[in-house]
Amino acid sequence: MRITCPVCGERDRREFYYVGDAVALQRPDPDASDVVWDDYVHNRDNPAGVTRDLWYHEGGCGAWIVVTRNTITHEVLGTELASDVKEASA
């Protein structure tokens, strides 16, 4: 699997640290209920197909990247800087 870092270009998957579902970009309000926080921290859609997850370019530029990927084929469909995704959703 090769992942295209928006900053550095296409790189070996080993340069990246997998964090998990990109839900991490939608942090709930600190005062939200335990049910909301449980859902955010633990529960996942866990799709068989297209997913969006968060990777960290640990062995490269240090960018946080949202990778759109297919969990059945391992095809990488697109990458964006997490900061851009966060700004666009704000």
Partner: protein, 418 residues
Amino acid sequence: MRFSGLKVLAEGLTGNKGWGAHWRDAQPKPEYDMVIIGGGGHGLSTAYYLAKNHGMTNIAVLEKGYLGGGNVGRNTTIVRANYFLQGNSEFYSHSLKLWEGLEEDLNYNVMHSQRGLINLFHSDGQRDAFARRGNMMINQGDDAVLLDREGVRKHLPYLDFDQVRFPIYGGLLHPRGGTARHDAVAWGYARGASDRGVDLVQNCEVTGIDIEGGVVKGVQTSRGPIRAKKVAIIVAGRSGQVAAMAGRRLPIESHVLQAFVTEGVKPVIDHVISFGMGHFYISQSDKGGLVFGGDLDFYASYAQRGNLPMKEHVMEAGMTLMPMIGKAKVLRSWGGIMDMTPDGSPIIDKMEGIDGLYIDCGWNYGGFKAVPASGWCMAHLMATDQHHEVAAKYRLDRFRTGVGIMDEEGTGSQHNLH
């Protein structure tokens, strides 16, 4: 059909023509007391113990593919009870006891081989941790022997003891640990359940779960609707998709775990061995193949195949530990889809808020050895609506409440850490 010495002899003399099918290939009926979604190891053992321990036989096991075609046929066959935390200890201890009587109980040769499992350690800190784990295992009533370097050498003379970076300090021996023939476990439970009247329905994919007013009414399948008073979801890596049919999200992310087997070689590895400084564990199958594996690829996946970096890591770790295997040719590699929970421990519970819906999932990368006790405890839960005492801590709500998190590896209760 029952196996016996006499039967083997008679069949041997008459051309092995009278064995017959091991279980009925049942057609689905319109209604059952209970429906189990998933005909893998855990689903089949649940059906078996529902019939045997609780006298319930109006049950269907629905399998979208063929029986035992998922993780129960794709694992590295290790059976052990070397857990540390209360909650896990008593469960896996119970499971190992069931394994020890399984062949007699099922009248089926599952080739359970208690050849001994050795977890190696390579530092003083690891020795302390394994000494403590060994004491916990003994407290639970299971067996553990702390071996020093020379003790390990007696068992495993072929290891590279003086490896410059990771010298071997010793190992924790679990004499009752070992392996079993994975497919036979599924087949044995399938036959036992089928003989007792359970319908095993293959090529029957569940496409929906019918719930009315918070009560489960049945399932929709590729072979028509089936009504049921109780429905169990026991589908390992596919738990997320099936739970979604009931409108639920689970604390599960599905990951790929790879395994490997070499060409058959003469008997050379008599134990199950794990390396303490890299992700590598190995045993030798009765056919002679060296069966080994490592860690997850560490990204969500349903592909049933992994990528090259983890293959490289596993091979490197194996060569570091036992250079003698270097000339063995790898015959094939494959991947299984692991239902990973944040704390690395499983779930056997009712689905809160939906009467009659049960779930058994989250076996991470350790589901095979749990097959007997998981079925035993899930059957107990479905039949009595009470949690079995050895599985009482496998609750779904522990993630919300924070009470009873069982992080056996001590790495943190977070999705990407197990």
